[in-house]
């Protein structure tokens, strides 16, 4: 019996002991960022940095594994570890650690934007403001560009650094479709005359949600009525009804008569690659290039955008509140924002996505290198992309869409 009580006490003490490590001061992040940059870089030498990010795209993973990780090792002697995890789950993990008051986490950098950034910022899951410390950010980026200072309507306030810029495009197979639709009205006609050959991912999927927001933009008098306004369900009810009308109207002629929507973009891509549907879509105008190369998409795959335009956004890198290696994280982010890292990312062999860097701020030689990149046949011209660019709406629209789509379209 005595032994039992002894064990009980020991375990209680152990449990209390575990909870007693939260004496670290919360302003240590500000202390670190106020140090001179050279000291931060020196301290990062030889450390390990853990980057948690969505791992669902092979091209993106290859860019990190085959380009970024070896270059960081060579240049700064930093060991970068890429941990694939859905962003929502990363935040979930941080939230749990916050609740448990765990000041020494496992995540140094997260890849983030939109509603996830909004939620992370609201719940104090991020370390704080740091971008004005990054030499590359200040030197090569248009720091007051609204595309970099706001993220889905949420002010960035230096808490995340712009890593890339993408625009939403549709893909189609040229051997099956001569002329892709130029507007949502034409898309509706096309779906009617080709039943079963079009569908879009579930509203909870990032891409599916973006498709729906395009329809919302198209049904508003002006797209700016949506992206310049915070979400007011009553004010947009007329536009929303037109959108639900449109979606319900095309539903019977979607793949499987709209009884099932692909759960993810991957599922839609699979249908497209098998020829079940004739169109797919996605953020990142150059997405098809690496998929064509891998033989997943047919070589005749081309892109198109429709009236009123294509939504684009910036995605960011940020540091969580309990990063165990802040200096390593700062050095890594600064490097990933550098012209050479952005150039490698811009080339179509790995990732091929657009860069948020300002070309006019680059050296003559570097600018030429960027201009010389051939992004591939499936990517529409930079001019066309810029002409059709539409900013993202406030993050609240995403959540609203998730919820309402289910009630208005699926359950009807």
């Amino acid at each position: 019996m005595k032994r039992f009580y002894f064990l009980l006490f020991v375990s209680i003490f152990l449990l209390i002991g575990c909870g007693n490590t939260n004496e670290q001061s919360s302003n240590s992040f500000d202390e670190i960022t106020s140090q001179p940059w050279s000291e931060i870089e020196e301290a990062a030498d030889g450390t390990t940095v853990r980057l948690y990010m969505w791992g669902g795209d092979e091209g993106i993973n290859q860019y990190l594994d085959e380009w970024a990780i070896p270059h960081l090792k060579e240049k700064y002697n930093i060991t970068l570890e890429r941990v694939p995890m859905d962003t929502v789950k990363i935040l979930q993990k941080l939230q749990t650690e916050k609740k448990a008051n765990k000041q020494d986490g496992t995540i140094d950098i997260i890849w983030i934007n939109g509603e996830n950034f909004k939620n992370a910022k609201k719940n104090n899951l991020l370390a704080g403001s740091f971008t004005d410390k990054l030499p590359n950010f200040n030197k090569y980026y248009q720091t007051d560009d609204p595309a970099l200072t706001t993220d889905f309507g949420t002010p960035v306030e230096g808490m995340e650094a712009p890593w890339g810029k993408v625009q939403f495009v549709f893909h189609y197979d040229e051997s099956k479709i001569d002329e892709p639709p130029a507007s949502f009205a034409q898309l509706q006609e096309w779906i009617k005359s080709h039943p079963g050959k079009f569908t879009y991912p579930n509203a909870t999927d990032f891409t599916g949600n973006a498709f729906l927001r395009h329809v919302l933009y198209a049904k508003a008098d002006q797209p700016s009525d949506i992206y310049n306004e915070p979400l007011d369900e009553e004010a947009i009810s007329g536009t929303a009804n037109k959108m639900w009308g449109y979606l319900n109207n095309i539903e019977p002629d979607l793949w499987r008569s709209g009884e099932h929507y692909p759960n993810s973009l991957t599922e839609l891509d699979k249908l497209y690659s098998q020829g079940e549907v004739w169109m797919t879509m996605g953020y990142n105008e150059a997405r098809a290039e690496s998929l064509i190369e891998q033989g997943v998409f047919p070589e005749t795959t081309k892109s198109f955008v429709m009236e009123p335009g294509s939504i684009g956004n910036t995605h960011f890198l940020s540091i969580p509140f309990n990063s165990p290696n802040v200096k390593g994280a700062l050095t890594t982010i600064n490097y990933l924002l550098s012209p050479e890292a952005q150039l490698a990312k811009y080339k179509p062999n790995y990732w091929g996505e657009n860069t948020p860097i300002s070309l006019e701020k680059l050296s003559e030689e570097m600018r030429k290198k960027f201009k010389a990149v051939d992004r591939g046949d499936s990517v529409i011209s930079q001019q066309k992309l810029e002409e059709s660019f539409l900013p993202e709406s406030e993050a609240a629209y995403v959540e609203w869409m998730e919820e309402q789509w289910f009630n208005e379209v699926v359950q009807e």
Binding site: F4, K89, V410
Partner: protein, 295 residues
């Protein structure tokens, strides 16, 4: 007096022994019990103290109600079919299955995780799957569009097929020891009295296997009702299985919906707990009656 001392001393030592024996179980139960407790707490924790609004919200949500109906129906159908087929196979083959090699072949499917099994079902039965391709080549169908929709379908056929296929070996695993322990003389007795196969089943086998069948049913039903991976892979957009819906509420990015996820899972736990208790008391009553000789 002295015997009284002895007695209480004995009592005490057996009591502390009981604690020692229970200690490992308690250690392992700390986490799940805490999880359960935290879930209940999150589901009734409002802005101002205790609230049942989430449960009210739950039962007003059409999405939840159709999800519950769909989940119960799907799990019930899958479990009953698995038990019936498993029972028939055990009855017909239990003498062969006593040997090692045939027995191993029946249990082979148990080696694969449910997720792998679900994926196999997709590879075989989807409209672009292997069987559809074979039908196309043979000429039974003109296009893959004519193949029936068996996966990601609104009736849960894909989910049912996966679970039936996967759980039959488990049913056999549960029933086989019972069948091999029934003395053959019982059968001989029924035969001598002129009983046929049906009488053999009713009078000899049924009383033996009934408790195990109830147990198997409870295990399979609760497992299927709350499983996530197979419905997530093979289910359709609407209606969804309850675990898929809870997952979406939990991870959906809308923080206000998170308590709904807890409330729905607590509700499902209560349903399973009630079923288990009902089964337990039913079997206990039978046992008591049997002991009094009133079977």
């Amino acid at each position: 007096m002295s015997s009284g001392w002895k007695n209480s001393g004995l009592m005490k030592s057996s009591k502390s022994k009981l604690w020692f024996l229970l200690a490992p179980a308690l250690v392992f139960l700390i986490l799940p019990l805490y999880g359960m407790f935290a879930a209940v707490r999150s589901s009734i924790n409002g802005n101002q103290g205790l609230t049942f609004t989430y449960y009210v919200q739950l039962f007003q949500s059409e999405r939840f109600l159709s999800s519950i109906a769909f989940s119960v129906r799907t799990s019930l159908v899958a479990t009953v079919i698995a038990i019936i087929i498993g029972l028939i196979i055990t009855r017909l083959f239990h003498t062969y299955l006593d040997k090692t090699t045939p027995r191993l072949s029946v249990w082979l499917p148990m080696l694969f995780p449910h997720f792998v099994w679900g994926y196999l079902v997709i590879l075989l039965l989807a409209e672009t799957g292997l069987i559809a391709q074979i039908f196309l080549v043979v000429g039974w169908i003109d296009g893959t569009g004519q193949f029936p929709v068996l996966t990601r379908d609104p009736y849960g056929l894909g989910i049912i097929i996966t679970y039936v296929w996967k759980e039959i070996p488990f049913v056999i695993l549960m029933l086989l020891p019972i069948y091999s322990s029934i003395p053959t003389s019982y059968y001989d007795l029924v035969k001598t009295l002129g009983g046929r196969s049906w009488e053999q089943f009713r009078t000899v086998e049924w009383p033996h296997i009934q408790p195990v069948l109830i147990e198997t049913f409870l295990i399979l039903f609760s497992f299927t009702l709350t499983a996530y991976e197979v419905p997530a892979l093979l289910g359709t957009t609407f209606p969804e299985m309850i675990s898929v819906l809870s997952y979406q509420w939990f991870y959906g990015g809308i923080l206000e919906e998170r308590p709904l996820a807890f409330a729905s899972m607590v509700f499902v736990s209560i349903v399973i707990l009630t079923l288990t208790l009902a089964g337990y008391f039913y079997m206990n009553r039978r046992r008591m009656r049997a002991m009094r000789g009133r079977l």
